[in-house]
Protein backbone atom coordinates (compact mmCIF):
# COMPACT_ATOMS: atom_id res chain seq x y z
CA UNK A 1 0.00 0.00 0.00
CA UNK A 2 1.52 3.34 -0.93
CA UNK A 3 1.00 6.58 0.83
CA UNK A 4 -2.44 8.10 0.68
CA UNK A 5 -1.69 9.87 3.90
CA UNK A 6 -1.01 13.54 4.48
CA UNK A 7 2.16 14.66 6.17
CA UNK A 8 0.12 15.96 9.10
CA UNK A 9 -1.59 12.60 9.55
CA UNK A 10 1.68 10.77 9.24
CA UNK A 11 3.27 13.02 11.84
CA UNK A 12 0.36 12.43 14.18
CA UNK A 13 0.70 8.67 13.72
CA UNK A 14 4.41 8.89 14.37
CA UNK A 15 3.95 10.91 17.55
CA UNK A 16 1.24 8.61 18.84
CA UNK A 17 3.48 5.64 18.20
CA UNK A 18 6.34 7.18 20.14
CA UNK A 19 4.11 8.36 22.97
CA UNK A 20 1.99 5.25 23.25
CA UNK A 21 5.09 3.07 23.41
CA UNK A 22 6.44 4.97 26.37
CA UNK A 23 3.02 5.27 28.00
CA UNK A 24 2.17 1.60 27.86
CA UNK A 25 5.63 0.34 28.71
CA UNK A 26 5.85 2.89 31.51
CA UNK A 27 2.57 1.56 32.87
CA UNK A 28 3.77 -2.03 32.73
CA UNK A 29 7.03 -1.20 34.46
CA UNK A 30 5.21 0.74 37.15
CA UNK A 31 3.25 -2.41 38.03
CA UNK A 32 6.43 -3.69 39.68
CA UNK A 33 6.40 -0.96 42.29
CA UNK A 34 7.07 -2.55 45.67
CA UNK A 35 7.23 -6.08 44.27
CA UNK A 36 10.66 -6.37 42.71
CA UNK A 37 13.37 -8.86 43.72
CA UNK A 38 15.51 -6.34 45.57
CA UNK A 39 15.17 -2.79 46.81
CA UNK A 40 17.64 -1.41 44.28
CA UNK A 41 15.39 -2.76 41.53
CA UNK A 42 12.32 -1.13 43.05
CA UNK A 43 14.16 2.13 42.71
CA UNK A 44 15.48 1.44 39.22
CA UNK A 45 12.13 0.27 37.87
CA UNK A 46 10.29 3.24 39.35
CA UNK A 47 12.90 5.47 37.79
CA UNK A 48 12.52 3.83 34.38
CA UNK A 49 8.75 4.16 34.56
CA UNK A 50 9.11 7.78 35.57
CA UNK A 51 11.34 8.57 32.60
CA UNK A 52 8.94 6.84 30.24
CA UNK A 53 5.95 8.72 31.59
CA UNK A 54 7.86 11.97 31.28
CA UNK A 55 8.62 11.21 27.65
CA UNK A 56 4.95 10.35 27.13
CA UNK A 57 3.98 13.81 28.29
CA UNK A 58 6.21 15.31 25.64
CA UNK A 59 5.26 13.04 22.73
CA UNK A 60 1.53 13.03 23.39
CA UNK A 61 1.58 16.73 24.17
CA UNK A 62 3.02 17.38 20.73
CA UNK A 63 0.63 14.85 19.18
CA UNK A 64 -2.29 16.81 20.62
CA UNK A 65 -0.89 20.03 19.16
CA UNK A 66 -0.39 18.49 15.73
CA UNK A 67 -3.86 16.96 15.82
CA UNK A 68 -5.29 20.40 16.44
CA UNK A 69 -8.44 19.31 18.22
CA UNK A 70 -7.48 20.86 21.49
CA UNK A 71 -6.58 17.58 23.15
CA UNK A 72 -4.02 17.41 25.92
CA UNK A 73 -1.56 14.58 26.49
CA UNK A 74 -3.89 13.44 29.28
CA UNK A 75 -6.87 13.39 26.95
CA UNK A 76 -4.96 11.17 24.58
CA UNK A 77 -3.66 8.90 27.31
CA UNK A 78 -6.85 8.48 29.26
CA UNK A 79 -9.70 8.85 26.82
CA UNK A 80 -8.83 6.68 23.84
CA UNK A 81 -9.93 3.06 23.66
CA UNK A 82 -7.62 0.18 22.72
CA UNK A 83 -8.04 0.45 18.94
CA UNK A 84 -6.74 4.01 18.92
CA UNK A 85 -3.48 3.10 20.60
CA UNK A 86 -0.41 2.88 18.39
CA UNK A 87 2.17 1.24 20.63
CA UNK A 88 3.98 -1.86 19.44
CA UNK A 89 2.63 -5.06 20.96
CA UNK A 90 5.93 -5.66 22.75
CA UNK A 91 5.15 -2.90 25.22
CA UNK A 92 1.77 -4.31 26.24
CA UNK A 93 2.62 -7.95 26.95
CA UNK A 94 2.29 -8.73 30.65
CA UNK A 95 5.34 -8.43 32.86
CA UNK A 96 5.73 -12.13 33.52
CA UNK A 97 8.63 -12.79 35.82
CA UNK A 98 11.40 -10.27 36.41
CA UNK A 99 13.42 -11.85 33.64
CA UNK A 100 10.75 -11.31 31.03
CA UNK A 101 10.30 -7.72 32.19
CA UNK A 102 14.00 -6.99 31.87
CA UNK A 103 14.29 -8.76 28.52
CA UNK A 104 11.34 -6.75 27.21
CA UNK A 105 12.98 -3.61 28.53
CA UNK A 106 16.28 -4.47 26.90
CA UNK A 107 14.74 -5.19 23.49
CA UNK A 108 12.76 -1.96 23.70
CA UNK A 109 15.68 0.10 24.99
CA UNK A 110 17.89 -1.13 22.17
CA UNK A 111 15.38 -0.02 19.52
CA UNK A 112 14.52 3.12 21.44
CA UNK A 113 18.08 4.32 21.86
CA UNK A 114 18.76 3.75 18.15
CA UNK A 115 15.70 5.58 16.88
CA UNK A 116 16.08 8.42 19.35
CA UNK A 117 19.66 8.84 18.19
CA UNK A 118 18.36 9.44 14.68
CA UNK A 119 15.52 11.64 15.79
CA UNK A 120 17.94 14.09 17.37
CA UNK A 121 18.63 15.12 13.80
CA UNK A 122 14.96 15.34 12.84
CA UNK A 123 13.98 18.09 10.45
CA UNK A 124 11.18 18.91 12.89
CA UNK A 125 12.76 20.91 15.70
CA UNK A 126 10.10 19.89 18.21
CA UNK A 127 10.79 16.22 17.56
CA UNK A 128 14.54 16.78 17.75
CA UNK A 129 14.16 18.51 21.07
CA UNK A 130 12.17 15.72 22.67
CA UNK A 131 14.58 13.15 21.26
CA UNK A 132 17.58 14.97 22.68
CA UNK A 133 16.16 14.74 26.16
CA UNK A 134 14.79 11.20 25.83
CA UNK A 135 17.87 9.71 24.23
CA UNK A 136 19.99 10.36 27.29
CA UNK A 137 17.47 8.49 29.42
CA UNK A 138 17.19 5.69 26.89
CA UNK A 139 20.95 5.24 26.79
CA UNK A 140 20.97 4.87 30.54
CA UNK A 141 18.06 2.43 30.47
CA UNK A 142 19.81 0.36 27.82
CA UNK A 143 22.98 0.16 29.84
CA UNK A 144 21.04 -1.06 32.84
CA UNK A 145 18.74 -3.51 31.10
CA UNK A 146 21.63 -4.84 29.02
CA UNK A 147 23.70 -5.47 32.13
CA UNK A 148 20.82 -7.23 33.80
CA UNK A 149 20.17 -9.43 30.77
CA UNK A 150 23.84 -10.40 30.71
CA UNK A 151 23.95 -10.96 34.46
CA UNK A 152 20.91 -13.20 34.48
CA UNK A 153 21.59 -14.92 31.17
CA UNK A 154 25.10 -15.78 32.30
CA UNK A 155 24.11 -16.39 35.93
CA UNK A 156 22.80 -19.66 37.34
CA UNK A 157 21.29 -22.49 35.37
CA UNK A 158 17.83 -21.36 36.45
CA UNK A 159 18.35 -17.71 35.61
CA UNK A 160 19.77 -18.70 32.22
CA UNK A 161 16.76 -20.90 31.47
CA UNK A 162 14.33 -18.19 32.50
CA UNK A 163 16.06 -15.59 30.34
CA UNK A 164 16.07 -17.91 27.36
CA UNK A 165 12.33 -18.50 27.91
CA UNK A 166 11.80 -14.76 28.05
CA UNK A 167 13.73 -14.23 24.84
CA UNK A 168 11.84 -17.04 23.09
CA UNK A 169 8.53 -15.55 24.16
CA UNK A 170 9.38 -11.97 23.27
CA UNK A 171 11.37 -12.38 20.08
CA UNK A 172 8.29 -12.62 17.82
CA UNK A 173 7.31 -9.17 19.12
CA UNK A 174 10.57 -7.58 17.96
CA UNK A 175 9.86 -7.44 14.23
CA UNK A 176 7.00 -4.98 14.59
CA UNK A 177 9.39 -2.25 15.73
CA UNK A 178 10.96 -2.28 12.26
CA UNK A 179 7.81 -2.37 10.16
CA UNK A 180 7.37 0.42 7.66
CA UNK A 181 4.05 1.70 6.35
CA UNK A 182 2.80 4.76 4.52
CA UNK A 183 3.14 6.98 7.55
CA UNK A 184 6.73 5.90 8.06
CA UNK A 185 7.61 6.50 4.43
CA UNK A 186 6.08 9.94 4.62
CA UNK A 187 8.09 10.73 7.76
CA UNK A 188 11.27 9.45 6.18
CA UNK A 189 10.66 11.47 3.02
CA UNK A 190 10.13 14.59 5.12
CA UNK A 191 13.30 13.93 7.10
CA UNK A 192 11.30 13.91 10.31
CA UNK A 193 11.94 10.30 11.31
CA UNK A 194 13.98 7.45 9.90
CA UNK A 195 12.47 4.55 8.01
CA UNK A 196 12.20 1.97 10.83
CA UNK A 197 13.33 -0.87 8.60
CA UNK A 198 16.65 0.89 8.20
CA UNK A 199 17.35 0.53 11.92
CA UNK A 200 17.27 -3.24 11.95
CA UNK A 201 20.92 -3.92 11.19
CA UNK A 202 22.15 -1.69 13.95
CA UNK A 203 19.63 -3.30 16.31
CA UNK A 204 20.66 -6.81 15.36
CA UNK A 205 24.32 -5.99 15.89
CA UNK A 206 23.71 -4.38 19.28
CA UNK A 207 21.32 -7.01 20.55
CA UNK A 208 23.41 -9.83 19.15
CA UNK A 209 26.45 -8.60 21.05
CA UNK A 210 24.64 -8.38 24.36
CA UNK A 211 22.80 -11.67 23.97
CA UNK A 212 26.06 -13.40 23.12
CA UNK A 213 27.54 -12.09 26.36
CA UNK A 214 24.39 -13.30 28.03
CA UNK A 215 24.98 -16.79 26.53
CA UNK A 216 21.47 -16.67 25.06
CA UNK A 217 20.32 -17.89 21.67
CA UNK A 218 18.11 -15.82 19.37
CA UNK A 219 15.19 -17.95 18.11
CA UNK A 220 15.44 -18.84 14.44
CA UNK A 221 11.80 -18.19 13.51
CA UNK A 222 11.36 -15.12 11.35
CA UNK A 223 7.65 -14.75 12.04
CA UNK A 224 6.62 -11.56 13.80
CA UNK A 225 3.47 -10.32 15.51
CA UNK A 226 1.97 -7.12 14.21
CA UNK A 227 -1.08 -4.97 14.64
CA UNK A 228 -0.10 -2.66 17.48
CA UNK A 229 1.57 0.28 15.75
CA UNK A 230 -1.29 0.54 13.25
CA UNK A 231 -3.99 -0.35 15.80
CA UNK A 232 -5.28 -3.14 13.60
CA UNK A 233 -5.04 -5.83 16.23
CA UNK A 234 -3.66 -5.30 19.70
CA UNK A 235 -3.29 -8.14 22.17
CA UNK A 236 -6.05 -8.96 24.62
CA UNK A 237 -3.80 -7.59 27.33
CA UNK A 238 -4.10 -3.94 26.33
CA UNK A 239 -7.81 -3.69 27.09
CA UNK A 240 -7.24 -4.96 30.61
CA UNK A 241 -4.41 -2.51 31.16
CA UNK A 242 -6.64 0.37 30.08
CA UNK A 243 -9.41 -0.54 32.52
CA UNK A 244 -6.97 0.32 35.29
CA UNK A 245 -5.10 3.17 33.67
CA UNK A 246 -8.19 5.06 32.59
CA UNK A 247 -10.48 4.23 35.48
CA UNK A 248 -10.64 7.58 37.23
CA UNK A 249 -10.93 9.64 34.06
CA UNK A 250 -13.70 7.37 32.83
CA UNK A 251 -15.59 7.17 36.11
CA UNK A 252 -15.32 10.88 36.91
CA UNK A 253 -15.17 12.65 33.58
CA UNK A 254 -14.23 16.30 33.33
CA UNK A 255 -12.56 16.63 36.73
CA UNK A 256 -9.30 18.33 37.52
CA UNK A 257 -6.84 16.20 39.42
Amino acid sequence: MTATITKEDALLQFLLRMGDNTLILGHRVSEWCGHSPILEEDIALANTALDLIGQTQMWLGLAGEVQGEGKSADDLAFLRDAWDFRNVLLTEVPNGDFGRTMMRQFLFDAWHSIILGRLIKSSDARVAEIAAKASKEAAYHLERSGDTVVGLGDGTEESHARMQDALDYLWPYVGEMFACDAADSEMAAAGIAPDPSGLRDEFDALVGRVLTDATLTIPSSKWAHSGGRDGRMHTEHLGHLLTQMQWLQRAYPGCKW
Binding site: L39, A46, D74, G99
Partner: protein
Protein backbone atom coordinates in the same frame (compact mmCIF):
# COMPACT_ATOMS: atom_id res chain seq x y z
CA UNK B 1 31.28 1.75 84.35
CA UNK B 2 33.79 4.27 83.06
CA UNK B 3 32.77 3.60 79.46
CA UNK B 4 29.13 4.08 80.25
CA UNK B 5 29.78 7.36 81.96
CA UNK B 6 31.88 8.67 79.06
CA UNK B 7 29.17 7.57 76.66
CA UNK B 8 26.44 9.34 78.57
CA UNK B 9 28.62 12.45 78.86
CA UNK B 10 28.92 12.66 75.11
CA UNK B 11 25.20 12.33 74.75
CA UNK B 12 24.51 14.95 77.37
CA UNK B 13 26.86 17.31 75.55
CA UNK B 14 25.18 16.65 72.21
CA UNK B 15 28.23 14.95 70.74
CA UNK B 16 27.08 12.37 68.19
CA UNK B 17 27.87 8.71 68.71
CA UNK B 18 29.62 7.25 65.67
CA UNK B 19 29.75 3.61 64.48
CA UNK B 20 33.22 2.86 65.93
CA UNK B 21 32.50 4.42 69.30
CA UNK B 22 31.82 2.22 72.27
CA UNK B 23 28.09 1.99 73.08
CA UNK B 24 25.94 -0.04 75.48
CA UNK B 25 24.44 -3.20 73.99
CA UNK B 26 20.94 -1.94 74.70
CA UNK B 27 21.61 1.33 72.93
CA UNK B 28 22.79 -0.59 69.90
CA UNK B 29 19.84 -3.00 70.03
CA UNK B 30 17.32 -0.22 70.48
CA UNK B 31 18.75 1.69 67.55
CA UNK B 32 18.81 -1.35 65.31
CA UNK B 33 15.19 -2.02 66.16
CA UNK B 34 14.15 1.57 65.56
CA UNK B 35 16.12 2.11 62.36
CA UNK B 36 15.16 -1.32 61.06
CA UNK B 37 11.50 -0.60 61.68
CA UNK B 38 11.87 2.72 60.01
CA UNK B 39 13.54 1.13 56.98
CA UNK B 40 10.87 -1.59 56.80
CA UNK B 41 8.21 1.11 56.94
CA UNK B 42 9.66 2.84 53.92
CA UNK B 43 9.69 -0.43 52.01
CA UNK B 44 6.23 -1.63 53.02
CA UNK B 45 5.00 1.92 52.54
CA UNK B 46 5.52 1.48 48.80
CA UNK B 47 2.52 -0.88 48.73
CA UNK B 48 -0.43 1.33 49.67
CA UNK B 49 0.78 4.06 47.33
CA UNK B 50 1.85 1.62 44.64
CA UNK B 51 -1.74 0.42 44.74
CA UNK B 52 -2.76 3.59 42.89
CA UNK B 53 0.14 4.09 40.50
CA UNK B 54 -1.58 2.17 37.72
CA UNK B 55 -4.76 4.19 38.33
CA UNK B 56 -3.29 7.67 38.71
CA UNK B 57 -5.67 10.05 36.95
CA UNK B 58 -3.17 12.12 34.94
CA UNK B 59 0.34 11.67 33.62
CA UNK B 60 1.56 14.38 35.96
CA UNK B 61 0.05 12.68 39.02
CA UNK B 62 1.44 9.34 37.91
CA UNK B 63 4.91 10.86 37.59
CA UNK B 64 4.69 12.52 41.00
CA UNK B 65 3.56 9.30 42.62
CA UNK B 66 6.28 7.26 40.92
CA UNK B 67 8.90 9.73 42.06
CA UNK B 68 7.56 9.58 45.59
CA UNK B 69 7.54 5.82 45.79
CA UNK B 70 11.01 5.77 44.31
CA UNK B 71 12.17 8.16 47.02
CA UNK B 72 10.69 5.91 49.66
CA UNK B 73 12.55 2.90 48.41
CA UNK B 74 15.62 5.11 48.47
CA UNK B 75 14.98 6.03 52.09
CA UNK B 76 14.65 2.36 52.88
CA UNK B 77 18.01 1.70 51.30
CA UNK B 78 19.59 4.59 53.15
CA UNK B 79 18.20 3.50 56.49
CA UNK B 80 19.24 -0.12 56.02
CA UNK B 81 22.75 1.16 55.30
CA UNK B 82 22.67 3.24 58.46
CA UNK B 83 21.55 0.20 60.44
CA UNK B 84 24.40 -1.77 58.90
CA UNK B 85 26.84 0.62 60.56
CA UNK B 86 25.71 -1.03 63.78
CA UNK B 87 26.67 -4.47 62.48
CA UNK B 88 23.29 -5.78 61.38
CA UNK B 89 22.94 -6.76 57.70
CA UNK B 90 20.03 -5.78 55.53
CA UNK B 91 19.31 -9.43 54.72
CA UNK B 92 19.04 -10.25 58.41
CA UNK B 93 16.68 -7.33 59.03
CA UNK B 94 14.55 -8.39 56.08
CA UNK B 95 14.47 -11.95 57.39
CA UNK B 96 13.23 -10.73 60.76
CA UNK B 97 10.54 -8.68 59.03
CA UNK B 98 9.36 -11.61 56.98
CA UNK B 99 9.25 -13.85 60.03
CA UNK B 100 7.05 -11.32 61.76
CA UNK B 101 9.75 -10.60 64.36
CA UNK B 102 10.21 -6.98 63.37
CA UNK B 103 7.49 -4.41 62.77
CA UNK B 104 6.85 -1.63 60.33
CA UNK B 105 4.68 1.40 60.91
CA UNK B 106 1.08 0.32 61.50
CA UNK B 107 -0.24 3.08 59.29
CA UNK B 108 0.65 0.98 56.26
CA UNK B 109 -1.75 -1.70 57.42
CA UNK B 110 -4.59 0.57 56.38
CA UNK B 111 -5.80 0.44 52.79
CA UNK B 112 -5.76 3.19 50.17
CA UNK B 113 -9.32 3.14 48.87
CA UNK B 114 -9.82 6.18 46.72
CA UNK B 115 -7.54 8.55 44.88
CA UNK B 116 -7.75 11.19 47.60
CA UNK B 117 -6.05 8.69 49.90
CA UNK B 118 -2.88 9.25 47.92
CA UNK B 119 -3.04 12.94 48.70
CA UNK B 120 -3.95 12.20 52.28
CA UNK B 121 -1.06 9.80 52.73
CA UNK B 122 1.35 12.50 51.63
CA UNK B 123 -0.31 15.16 53.68
CA UNK B 124 -1.16 13.29 56.88
CA UNK B 125 1.12 10.27 56.96
CA UNK B 126 4.23 11.95 55.66
CA UNK B 127 3.22 14.98 57.65
CA UNK B 128 3.14 12.95 60.85
CA UNK B 129 6.35 11.19 59.90
CA UNK B 130 8.10 14.50 59.42
CA UNK B 131 7.06 15.74 62.85
CA UNK B 132 8.73 12.63 64.20
CA UNK B 133 11.74 12.84 61.97
CA UNK B 134 12.48 16.51 62.46
CA UNK B 135 12.83 15.72 66.14
CA UNK B 136 15.05 12.76 65.27
CA UNK B 137 17.48 14.96 63.37
CA UNK B 138 18.84 15.67 66.83
CA UNK B 139 19.08 12.01 67.75
CA UNK B 140 22.37 10.96 69.34
CA UNK B 141 23.52 8.37 66.80
CA UNK B 142 25.40 10.15 64.02
CA UNK B 143 24.44 8.08 60.97
CA UNK B 144 20.79 8.03 62.03
CA UNK B 145 20.75 11.76 62.59
CA UNK B 146 22.27 12.41 59.19
CA UNK B 147 19.85 10.01 57.53
CA UNK B 148 16.99 11.93 59.12
CA UNK B 149 18.26 15.26 57.86
CA UNK B 150 18.44 13.98 54.34
CA UNK B 151 15.13 12.13 54.48
CA UNK B 152 13.25 15.04 56.01
CA UNK B 153 13.96 17.23 53.02
CA UNK B 154 12.35 14.79 50.63
CA UNK B 155 9.50 14.02 52.98
CA UNK B 156 8.60 17.69 53.27
CA UNK B 157 8.44 17.83 49.52
CA UNK B 158 6.14 14.80 49.52
CA UNK B 159 3.94 16.25 52.20
CA UNK B 160 3.54 19.45 50.21
CA UNK B 161 2.71 17.51 47.07
CA UNK B 162 0.22 15.44 48.99
CA UNK B 163 -1.44 18.54 50.33
CA UNK B 164 -1.69 19.97 46.83
CA UNK B 165 -3.20 16.74 45.57
CA UNK B 166 -5.87 16.67 48.24
CA UNK B 167 -6.47 20.39 47.73
CA UNK B 168 -7.37 19.66 44.10
CA UNK B 169 -9.82 17.09 45.42
CA UNK B 170 -11.28 19.23 48.19
CA UNK B 171 -11.78 22.12 45.79
CA UNK B 172 -12.92 19.86 42.95
CA UNK B 173 -16.24 18.28 42.03
CA UNK B 174 -18.67 17.22 44.78
CA UNK B 175 -17.54 13.63 44.29
CA UNK B 176 -13.90 14.60 44.56
CA UNK B 177 -14.62 16.53 47.72
CA UNK B 178 -16.42 13.50 49.10
CA UNK B 179 -13.34 11.41 48.38
CA UNK B 180 -11.16 13.90 50.20
CA UNK B 181 -13.47 13.85 53.21
CA UNK B 182 -13.62 10.06 53.19
CA UNK B 183 -9.82 9.85 53.06
CA UNK B 184 -9.45 12.30 55.93
CA UNK B 185 -12.02 10.47 58.03
CA UNK B 186 -10.39 7.10 57.52
CA UNK B 187 -6.78 8.19 57.90
CA UNK B 188 -7.01 10.73 60.71
CA UNK B 189 -6.95 8.39 63.67
CA UNK B 190 -4.43 5.98 62.14
CA UNK B 191 -2.17 8.99 61.57
CA UNK B 192 -2.63 10.00 65.20
CA UNK B 193 -1.58 6.51 66.21
CA UNK B 194 1.70 6.93 64.35
CA UNK B 195 3.11 8.74 67.38
CA UNK B 196 2.61 5.67 69.52
CA UNK B 197 0.74 5.21 72.79
CA UNK B 198 0.38 7.89 75.42
CA UNK B 199 3.60 8.75 77.21
CA UNK B 200 2.18 7.10 80.31
CA UNK B 201 1.80 3.80 78.40
CA UNK B 202 5.00 3.95 76.36
CA UNK B 203 7.39 1.20 77.41
CA UNK B 204 10.76 2.12 75.92
CA UNK B 205 10.46 5.84 76.28
CA UNK B 206 12.41 6.79 79.37
CA UNK B 207 15.71 5.14 78.51
CA UNK B 208 15.39 6.24 74.88
CA UNK B 209 14.95 9.83 75.97
CA UNK B 210 17.99 9.63 78.23
CA UNK B 211 20.02 8.25 75.32
CA UNK B 212 18.51 10.85 73.00
CA UNK B 213 17.39 8.11 70.64
CA UNK B 214 14.06 9.71 71.22
CA UNK B 215 14.07 13.45 71.53
CA UNK B 216 10.47 14.40 72.16
CA UNK B 217 7.69 12.41 73.79
CA UNK B 218 4.86 10.77 71.86
CA UNK B 219 2.26 13.13 73.24
CA UNK B 220 4.31 16.24 72.52
CA UNK B 221 4.77 15.18 68.91
CA UNK B 222 1.11 14.25 68.50
CA UNK B 223 0.03 17.65 69.79
CA UNK B 224 2.40 19.35 67.40
CA UNK B 225 0.94 17.38 64.49
CA UNK B 226 -2.62 18.19 65.50
CA UNK B 227 -1.84 21.85 65.89
CA UNK B 228 -0.29 22.13 62.46
CA UNK B 229 -2.92 20.04 60.70
CA UNK B 230 -6.25 21.43 61.94
CA UNK B 231 -5.82 24.79 60.20
CA UNK B 232 -5.05 22.91 56.99
CA UNK B 233 -8.26 20.90 57.31
CA UNK B 234 -10.13 24.12 57.82
CA UNK B 235 -8.47 25.72 54.84
CA UNK B 236 -9.54 22.76 52.71
CA UNK B 237 -13.12 23.26 53.85
CA UNK B 238 -13.40 19.69 55.05
CA UNK B 239 -15.29 18.59 58.15
CA UNK B 240 -13.13 17.84 61.14
CA UNK B 241 -12.65 14.09 61.43
CA UNK B 242 -13.02 14.07 65.21
CA UNK B 243 -15.84 15.84 67.06
CA UNK B 244 -13.58 16.40 70.05
CA UNK B 245 -11.28 18.74 68.16
CA UNK B 246 -11.53 22.23 69.67
CA UNK B 247 -9.15 25.11 70.17
CA UNK B 248 -8.12 25.39 73.80
CA UNK B 249 -7.30 29.04 74.44
CA UNK B 250 -5.81 28.30 77.81
CA UNK B 251 -3.38 25.62 76.62
CA UNK B 252 -2.70 27.40 73.36
CA UNK B 253 -3.29 24.07 71.65
CA UNK B 254 -6.08 22.10 70.07
CA UNK B 255 -7.85 19.54 72.20
CA UNK B 256 -8.61 16.32 70.42
CA UNK B 257 -10.05 12.88 70.97
CA UNK B 258 -8.22 9.66 71.63
CA UNK B 259 -7.87 7.17 68.82
CA UNK B 260 -9.21 3.69 69.49
CA UNK B 261 -6.24 2.18 71.32
CA UNK B 262 -7.77 -1.28 71.17
CA UNK B 263 -7.66 -1.05 67.42
CA UNK B 264 -4.10 0.18 67.70
CA UNK B 265 -3.12 -2.86 69.73
CA UNK B 266 -5.00 -5.14 67.32
CA UNK B 267 -3.11 -3.76 64.36
CA UNK B 268 0.20 -4.04 66.20
CA UNK B 269 -0.59 -7.68 66.92
CA UNK B 270 -1.19 -8.38 63.24
CA UNK B 271 -4.93 -7.89 63.17
CA UNK B 272 -5.22 -4.86 60.95
CA UNK B 273 -7.06 -4.48 57.68
CA UNK B 274 -4.00 -5.18 55.53
CA UNK B 275 -1.36 -6.80 57.76
CA UNK B 276 -1.56 -10.21 56.18
CA UNK B 277 -1.71 -8.94 52.62
CA UNK B 278 1.16 -6.48 53.10
CA UNK B 279 3.51 -9.01 54.60
CA UNK B 280 2.64 -11.69 52.10
CA UNK B 281 3.18 -9.24 49.23
CA UNK B 282 6.65 -8.49 50.57
CA UNK B 283 7.45 -12.15 51.16
CA UNK B 284 6.24 -13.07 47.70
CA UNK B 285 8.41 -10.36 46.15
CA UNK B 286 11.38 -11.69 48.07
CA UNK B 287 10.73 -15.35 47.29
CA UNK B 288 9.93 -14.75 43.63
CA UNK B 289 13.11 -12.71 43.37
CA UNK B 290 15.43 -15.34 44.79
CA UNK B 291 16.47 -16.65 41.38
CA UNK B 292 17.28 -13.09 40.31
CA UNK B 293 19.49 -12.39 43.30
CA UNK B 294 21.17 -15.77 42.90
CA UNK B 295 21.66 -15.27 39.18
CA UNK B 296 23.22 -11.85 39.50
CA UNK B 297 25.47 -13.02 42.30
CA UNK B 298 26.63 -16.04 40.30
CA UNK B 299 27.42 -13.79 37.36
CA UNK B 300 29.34 -11.35 39.52
CA UNK B 301 31.43 -14.23 40.87
CA UNK B 302 32.14 -15.55 37.37
CA UNK B 303 33.29 -12.12 36.29
CA UNK B 304 35.45 -11.68 39.37
CA UNK B 305 37.16 -15.04 38.93
CA UNK B 306 37.63 -14.44 35.22
CA UNK B 307 39.33 -11.22 36.12
CA UNK B 308 41.59 -12.96 38.63
CA UNK B 309 42.44 -15.65 36.08
CA UNK B 310 43.35 -13.00 33.55
CA UNK B 311 45.73 -11.25 35.90
Amino acid sequence: SEQERAFQDKIDNDIKIEPRDWMPDDYRATLIRQMGQHAHSEVVGQLPEGNWITRAPTLERKAILLAKVQDEAGHGLYLYSSAETLGETRDELVRLLHEGRMKYSSIFNYPTLNWADIGAVGWLVDGAAIVNQVALQRTSYGPYSRAMIRICKEESFHARQGYHAIMQMAFGSPEQKKMAQDALNRLWFPAMMMFGPHDSDSTHSEQSMAWKIKVKSNDELRQQFVDQTIPQIEYLGLDLPDPAIKWNEERGHYDFGDPDWDEFMDVIRGNGPCNVDRLSARKKAWDDGEWVRDGLLAHARKKASAKVAAE
